[in-house]
């Protein structure tokens, strides 16, 4: 994966202003959903974004695609700064960057047939295509994601969750985008179906060569699909590393706790493993702790952690961690 990166994100922040109230003398608060996140993405690479509620991973995914207002920082796509584009130019760029959603059924317009749903991106970006060509392409795509082409006139509610997700993926892939952001694509599916969809995404990546940003709270699934993984906590990057490095040698106490908390489906291993149970609860994102946001739950926290926010320190190649005490 050499060559210029497909996507280059620098100091990306997404802030939401919560309205204050003059009546109750409450100043407006600032919710930093994403706080100065930077990363690169190479063509054909999958970056896994993991973290728990409130970590900002979904917000980050949408911010990269510019689906949200109030984005600060730079998002450079193939050398072009997306912030400098006007609305129409950005709209045209969307052909190359797509998104797959968490709730498979809700992401599909209930009043449109499957064929119409999958054909919509074709209508939007290739209006010159004839109806017959468009239909052939839609049916080919349906077969490509494991759906029966004969079902082209059916409606979303006639399909199961897994099939609906395939429809969403077909819609995202039909214009062969360079980047697909997958926002928890398998979390709402049954376990036996999750594996099917994960395999499908990986097959499509092999076939089309697109990059993926795979957002999930399920570390086992992410380990399977991602080349590199970024761990987020309260909107900040805690650790970023190649997949094998992260799982074999996690350096951030949060990553360590996260990995230890993932249940292993093996009674002996699961009961024997060392547990790092975090104390306390997630702090409110409106009032993050001073210095390092993780210090209120961290077993290694010291006074330094309350004073200074840790920078992302490079360790070995590609492995960076934001912790003052990573080497203890």
């Amino acid at each position: 994966m050499k060559g210029p990166p497909l996507l280059s994100v620098r100091d990306l922040s997404v802030h939401f202003h919560m309205a204050g109230s003059w009546l109750w003398r409450q100043p407006g608060a600032l919710l930093k959903a994403v706080d100065e996140v930077s990363f690169d993405l190479a063509p054909g690479e999958t970056l896994g974004l993991v973290g728990e509620s409130g970590c900002g991973k979904s917000t980050l995914g949408r911010a990269v695609l510019r689906l949200l207002p109030n984005i600060q920082g730079r998002v450079v796509w193939l050398g072009e700064d997306l912030a400098k584009l006007d609305e129409e130019a950005m709209r045209r760029k969307r052909r190359e960057m797509q998104i797959v959603f968490q709730d498979p059924l809700a992401a599909l317009d209930p009043r449109m047939t499957v064929g119409e749903i999958i054909a919509e991106p074709l209508r939007t970006f290739r209006p010159d295509m004839s109806a017959a060509e468009s239909k052939a392409k839609v049916q080919a795509m349906m077969a490509g994601v494991g759906l029966l082409p004969q079902q082209i006139n059916r409606y979303p509610h006639e399909f199961s969750g897994g099939q609906c997700q395939r429809i969403g993926i077909a819609r995202a892939m039909i214009n062969e985008p360079k980047l697909v952001v997958c926002d928890e694509p398998v979390s709402a599916l049954d376990v036996s179906i999750q594996a099917q969809i994960v395999n499908l995404l990986m097959d499509l990546q092999r076939q089309y060569g697109m990059s993926m940003i795979f957002i999930s709270h399920n570390l086992s699934v992410v380990r399977h699909v991602a080349h590199r993984i970024m761990v987020l906590y309260l909107g900040r990057v805690a650790e970023i590393a190649d997949r094998d490095q992260l799982y074999r040698n996690p350096r951030h106490p949060y990553t360590q706790a996260l990995i230890s908390a993932v249940p292993i489906p093996d009674p002996d291993l699961e009961r024997a493993k060392a547990r790092l149970i975090l104390k306390g609860d997630l702090p409110s994102p409106l009032h993050p702790p001073s210095g390092c946001a993780f210090r209120t739950r961290c077993p290694k926290a010291t006074s330094l952690c309350a004073e200074r926010r840790p920078e992302l320190t490079p360790l070995e190649l590609g492995h960076r961690v934001a912790c003052h005490h990573w080497d203890e």
Partner: protein, 298 residues
Amino acid sequence: MADAAQTIAVPPSEEFKGRSLWSDAWRRLLRNRAAVVSAVLLASITLACVLVPLLSPIAYDDVFWDSVSAPPDFASGHYFGTDDSGRDLFVRTMYGGRVSLTVGLVATLVSLVIGVTWGAVAGFLGGRIDGAMMRFVDILYSVPFIFFVIMLTVVFGRHIVLIYIAIGAVSWLDMARIVRGQTMSLKRREFVEAARAGGVRQSRVILRHIIPNCLGPVIVYVTLTVPNVILLESFLSFLGLGVQEPSTSWGVLISDGARIMETSPWALCFPAAFLAVTLACFNFIGDGLRDALDPKDR
């Protein structure tokens, strides 16, 4: 799973037919007896009003000097009797029905088109544009209706089209509010976000995604607006602001009938009964539609 190798275009004859949400709703509606009976009744009344020349050779302004204020009599051909000017009430009731139903449908159609567009655009764009558009609606709401109609009548004289305009101008306001509310909640749904993420233009998002999904409550509201409009028209006619003689509507007939109620009760009863039954039918159908288009569908 299935291979990408099977990429043959399937001939349309082999494609499965989808079962849309509309057809599900239709089936549910058909199970509602009150709604079905009302629909049949309404269709019959409408048919009778349209086909009245086939049912009776008498014209609506024919005067029968020798049968003034005659009670209903099947043999004489005056099925509903005559009024105090000697005109056949059956034919007049049917012609009145034409006017009332037309006003109901046309004015509702006008309010539908304007209201849906206004509400969808305001709800979708949000922010200041939405604020401005809805303030306009609020201002129009506060205009006293009767005053408005009287002013129109004074300026333009009594004309049936005036009624359409006046009623249409007032009834689109509620529709706009409903559609705006629907749009605002739809805007947040994931398939709308998916369309925007897919690069679909805003105008097409509104037209293709928002409006069809609003139609449920809109349809229900339309079926409940029609009776309101008919009633409004009847009210105006009752006050003397509606249609011109010798043209008639149910409101006019009721007004005239009320005058001679004591001596010729049939002159009041028949048009009043028709109006009441029609309104009830629309209401039952509206209720049936509301149940059939239950939100849990979406």
